[in-house]
């Protein structure tokens, strides 16, 4: 489904990604792990088309289509979803309005009719329950005054609502307590489907206890230096990134209370 070949990307002239190769098939869940500053978040931003990053070499295709030729919103409509690590606030714009605009933009792209306010409200309420969000939050401004946990749940709720082909979860576990982590993980597991791929970017292995990946990749210095199965994450947990000859003051422990922030 997603194919990344020799991807190089830089920000403000500084190269962050230095030749990423990655193949993700439909139905698979991949985890990208790595120490801080390894380029994990950059990879997710580049996939989603953030213009702050410049792709200098390589290619990204989604089901054979060249993603690099598509604008951010076009990639989104093609089914790329990014759950943000730090979702930004949009004051005065209600969640409901934002979500409905988003859903309708996608529906329109697929040639489906727009959902009216009442239909959408019903759907949004159902899905908000799935991630344990009080439906009252729909009336609040986008991410306005949300707690860290609410923001993350809101991101997952949006993934459930939009049903993307590829969901990229950027540090979705950071800043969550164990209960919230459970709710978010349940949400992500509900997303797992044969026709959908999930790419999880995380510093910690603890998330992978809840969402078991098919493949684990270690990203360091802008390259994938090791790939393996579920056992690779466990090994990292046990031995830390130092085991791979990487410097990182934090280790990939599974402590539920630690945070990547």
């Amino acid at each position: 489904m997603l194919s990344i070949k020799n991807l190089h990307a830089s920000v403000e002239g500084k190269e962050i990604l230095k030749g990423i190769n990655l193949e993700i098939k439909a139905g698979e869940v991949h985890a990208i792990m790595g120490p801080n500053g390894s380029g994990k978040s950059t990879l997710s931003q580049v996939l989603a088309g953030n213009e702050a990053f410049e792709v200098t070499e390589g290619e990204i295709t989604l089901n054979g289509e060249n993603l690099l030729e598509l604008e951010t919103e076009e990639r989104a409509r093609e089914g790329i979803f990014l759950a943000f690590q730090y979702p930004v606030e949009i004051p005065g714009v209600s969640n409901l309005q934002f979500l409905r605009t988003s859903v309708n933009a996608m529906r329109q792209h697929k040639g489906q009719d727009e959902m009216n306010a009442a239909e959408f409200m019903k759907l949004a309420k159902e899905i908000s329950k799935q991630v344990d969000l009080d439906p009252a939050f729909l009336k609040r401004g986008v991410n306005e005054g949300f707690s860290g946990g609410e923001k993350k749940r809101n991101e997952i709720m949006q993934a459930l609502l939009l049903q993307p082909k590829l969901a990229i979860l950027d540090e979705t576990d950071s800043g969550l307590d164990i209960d919230a982590l459970k709710v978010v993980s349940d949400g992500v597991n509900a997303l797992r489907a044969e026709d959908r791929a999930i790419l999880m970017v995380t510093h910690y292995q603890r998330l992978l206890n809840h969402i078991v990946p098919d493949y684990v990749h270690v990203l360091a210095g802008g390259k994938i230096i090791k790939s393996g199965g579920r056992e690779l994450a466990l090994e990292l947990e046990e031995r830390g990134y130092g085991w791979l000859g990487l410097k990182d003051e934090e280790t990939a422990d599974s402590s539920a209370t630690s945070s990547a922030n």
Binding site: A48, G49, N50, E51, A52, E71, T72, E73, A76, R77, F81, L82, F84, P87, V88, I90, P91, G92, V93, Q97, F98, R100, T101, S102, N104, A105, M106, Q108, H109, E114, G141, V142, Q158, L162
Partner: protein, 482 residues
């Protein structure tokens, strides 16, 4: 809400949608201004002698006045002798007796603008006075309003039919010598709207005036006077548009509001004069004096304005809070794009005891435009226990526009309380990325973010117009992303 890609493209390309010209025969004065011109204008309108005298007095005063230069705007010098001060569609009678007698071309014009005037198609629940260039061409719902005792007519009619009321209040809130543009207006105003709501009456429907400039090289100088007698309530809305022309045109209006004891006036404006083209060519100079006097105790005057049009805007809808416990409100959204310039805000003059005022101003600048908030909050010696709250937010789109805030506070009373909050923010790349990542078109994302920014003001608009205002912002912002 959402649109197809094709529609979006059309939207981006779409120009000012009210820019058409109505082909109609007009009686138009030669350009130029002198006492004879004023006498001729007064004569055409069959005005009583006192009105002409009033105009001439204003004119003589105006000649001694200087055009204000303190606003944060720049525009070429206006030659007041190159403007025509009167232009009216030709007709047999001086005033249309009924809608059937109104030129069909004019009716079509208003229909095109979304303001059907015909009985069967009239806007439900909204009475409209339609002003075309220098004259009022039609006023709807006059009869049901008259039943309630509400007078809603053109100011020309009011001068003839209700001289006592007009003489008692005209110029009491905005006197001749108030400022240069008000002085000019007092001398040459050609039409406008008059409203009187009698004691204890809650006006049964929204009242509105739709101003349309059509003729070239003319100025529009309308005068509006609204009087809310004791315990009455009225909500009034004005809208305005003009054709696209390369020359600038002057619009210098005066609005006076008078609220007696326990009366309330809610005055909303959706201003969409032609703003000029992308290079800043053409557009309306909107130099307007709007002021309300809350002279009665417990009276309330509320201004809501959505300003998206005009090349240059100079406008400060104000409240003089004379009555005890009187309340003044100013809610404003001012959006500038391309080369538009706006210097707008309000004055809250607290004279009476326990008077209170609220100012919420939202300025949005895009393109290479300049947007200034200018506000005065003043407490006189008698304003015991008076208070003001001001919130003044600016939003920048892109990095070539400017936002400025000029707040003035003067207090001669120690018990007065004033709070002032101001913020400046940008539509951030992060906000845009979030929206676009969710499949939302960039233009739509900006308009959504801006609408969110303006929410506090839009909720003050009458329902029907809040939707319009949102759409108007969307159109005005076109091309601001890129």
């Amino acid at each position: 809400m959402a649109t197809t890609d094709q529609e979006v493209n059309e939207l981006i390309k779409r120009e000012y949608e009210h820019g058409f010209v109505t082909d109609i025969e007009s009686d138009t004065f030669e350009p130029g201004l002198n006492e004879d011109v004023i006498a001729r204008l007064s004569g055409i309108k069959k005005e009583p002698e006192w009105m002409l005298e009033w105009r001439l007095k204003a004119y003589r005063r105006w000649l001694e006045m200087d055009e204000p230069d303190w606003a944060h705007v720049g525009y070429p010098k206006i030659d007041y002798n190159s403007i025509s001060y009167y232009s009216a569609p030709k007709r047999k009678e001086d005033m249309p007796q009924s809608l059937d007698e109104v030129d069909p071309e004019l009716l079509k014009t208003y229909e095109k603008l979304g303001i059907p005037l015909h009985e069967r198609e009239k806007l439900a629940g909204v009475a409209v006075d339609a002003v075309f260039d220098s004259v009022s061409v039609a006023t709807t719902f006059k009869e049901p309003l008259a039943k309630a005792g509400v007078i809603f007519c053109s100011i020309s009619e009011a001068i003839r039919d209700y001289p006592e009321l007009v003489q008692k209040y005209l110029g009491t809130v905005v006197p001749h010598g108030d400022n240069f543009f008000a002085g000019l207006n007092s001398a040459v105003f050609s039409d406008g709207t008059f409203v009187y709501v009698p004691k204890g009456v809650r006006c049964p429907m929204e009242l509105s005036t739709y101003f349309r400039i059509n003729a070239a090289n003319t100025g529009q100088f309308e005068r509006t006077l609204i009087i809310a007698d004791e315990g009455s309530y009225v909500s009034y809305l004005e809208g305005c548009t003009a054709p696209m022309r390369d020359e600038n045109q002057l619009h210098a209006a005066v609005v006076e509001l008078v609220a007696l004891d326990d009366a309330q006036i809610k005055y909303s404006t959706v201003q969409n004069w032609y703003p000029g083209d992308e290079e800043g060519k053409g557009g309306i100079f909107n130099f307007v004096t709007k002021r309300g006097a809350a002279i009665g105790k417990n009276s309330k005057i509320s201004w809501t304005q959505v300003e998206t049009g005009s090349a240059v805007t100079w406008k400060y809808p104000s409240c003089i809070l004379r009555g005890e416990n009187s309340v003044g409100e100013f809610y404003s959204v001012a959006l500038t794009n391309n080369y538009q310039q706006a210097d707008t805000g309000t004055k809250m003059i607290h004279l009476g005891k326990n008077t209170s005022s609220t100012i919420i101003s939202k300025g949005i600048s895009a393109g290479k435009s300049s947007n200034a908030y200018r506000g005065l909050v003043k407490f006189g010696p008698g304003a015991e226990g008076a208070r003001n709250f001001t919130q003044c937010d600016s939003l920048l789109i892109g990095d070539r526009c400017g936002a400025h805030t000029f707040p003035y506070i003067e207090s001669k009373n120690k018990s007065a309380i004033v709070e002032h909050e101001a913020t400046t923010s940008k539509v951030s790349d992060e906000q845009m990325f979030l929206c676009r990542q969710r499949g939302i078109d960039p233009e739509q994302a900006v308009s959504m973010i801006v609408n969110g920014f303006c929410k506090e003001v839009f909720k003050e608009l009458p329902m029907e117009f809040a939707v319009e205002a949102g759409k108007l912002l969307e159109v005005s912002l076109e091309g601001s992303v890129g």
